[in-house]
């Protein structure tokens, strides 16, 4: 490794230095990693990935200001660089600047819409926002809430499918939902997958998440497809807790 490192730091061969620098960073050899990254930047000053690597190294070293400079340089080279956006979001989050963190993550999410780690991070940032801007608490009893609580027999306990939907639609969805969760239980039982935790059903313009609330009650969360899958699952988890509270109050 030393021989390769020496060779790479003095004369980077193509873009191999990126991998080497990252390996050194992961091993905690930060100064060696920084040497490799800086040597690479001499040859490739407009390479966003190289600035991003340096940003990660400096961030690991706790040198936030240097990390921010590196990531901003990366964004100058490539305004949509996901790694740099993630890095800046992370530092903003660590500095409790949740709004900025959210902005960076949203931009990264637009650049990489299938990256579930981004969606998960977005949800974490949003859930960490101070109480001054809370998300509206789940309104279970509202037909337009998109939260439908039903029992294992397919009877609606409370809630509905979403704006504009009627009680009849909610009842029908509860009736079919019971069959769906029963099937989910059967699939996991017969395939030896353990206890089922959630079921996501996605269409062209909707997403449905079903979760078990108790052994006898289930929650169906309905949202438009514009809501990312990761965020829907986080919403369903929170709504599940609210549903459990609701059931305890009712019994």
């Amino acid at each position: 490794m030393n021989e390769v490192s020496s060779s790479a730091s003095s004369r980077p061969q193509g873009l191999a230095f990126l991998e080497l620098g990252e390996r050194l960073r992961q091993r905690g050899q930060y100064e060696a990693a920084a040497t490799v990254a800086n040597a690479g930047l001499v040859h490739y000053p407009a390479l966003a990935d190289a600035h991003d690597l340096l940003g990660r190294i400096r961030s690991d070293q706790g040198q936030d200001a240097s990390a921010i400079s590196a990531w901003r340089a990366a964004l100058e080279c490539d305004p949509g660089h996901v790694g740099a956006l993630k890095g800046l979001a992370f530092l903003s989050f660590r500095g409790r600047d949740f709004a900025t963190a959210e902005r960076y993550l949203e931009q990264a999410s637009r650049e990489s819409p299938h990256d579930l780690t981004l969606l998960s991070a977005l949800d974490k940032v949003r859930s960490a926002r101070p109480a001054s801007a809370p998300e509206a608490p789940p309104q279970l009893a509202d037909l337009s809430s998109g939260l439908l609580l039903f029992d294992g027999q397919g009877m609606r306990l409370t809630g509905g499918i979403g704006p504009g939907s009627s009680a009849d639609v909610a009842d029908a969805a509860a009736a079919e939902g019971a069959g769906l969760v029963r099937e989910a239980g059967r699939v996991t039982r017969l395939l030896g997958l353990g206890a089922w935790q959630h079921l996501l059903v996605e269409g062209a313009d909707f997403r449905l998440a079903a979760i078990p609330v108790t052994a006898e009650a289930f929650l169906l969360v309905s949202r438009p497809s514009s809501m990312p899958a990761g965020r829907l699952m986080a919403t369903a988890t929170r709504a599940g807790l609210a549903a459990r509270d609701w059931l305890e109050r009712m019994t």
Binding site: G177, L180, L193, G203, A229
Partner: protein, 117 residues
């Protein structure tokens, strides 16, 4: 896409760490059309049960939104089942460990499912 490409697609999916098996399933009759899986995976059972789950998902989605599902994703404590609609009645299905790279699997399955036609 030619049928000859299907085994290659399934192998690519099972190449993702944590994927135990990948199948092309006919949800009309719950039978396996093509598969690539570890020996321990009961592919016939997976096909039958996934088809039943997709059928239930269809009914629920129709009752709630009057529309058809394109993806069904079941997460359990010891595994995950992901199914994406291809040309009717085919669905592309993957059975995986809980720690699978889900984002990558979703993207790959989605790309391949539409290309089955």
């Amino acid at each position: 896409m030619s049928l000859e490409r299907w085994p290659q697609i399934l192998r690519e999916i099972t190449g993702i760490a944590g994927v135990r098996g990948a199948l092309i399933v006919s949800t009309d009759d719950g039978l396996v059309i093509a598969e690539s899986a570890m020996e321990s995976v009961p592919t016939s059972d997976v096909a039958a049960l996934t088809s039943a789950l997709v059928s239930r998902a269809r009914k629920t989605a129709h009752a709630a939104h009057g529309a058809a599902p394109r993806t069904v994703h079941l997460t359990a404590s010891e595994g995950t089942l992901l199914a994406m609609a291809g040309p009717d009645p085919l669905w592309l299905v993957a059975l995986a460990d809980p720690h699978v790279e889900l984002g990558r699997l979703r993207v790959l399955l989605g790309d391949f499912a539409v290309s089955l036609a």
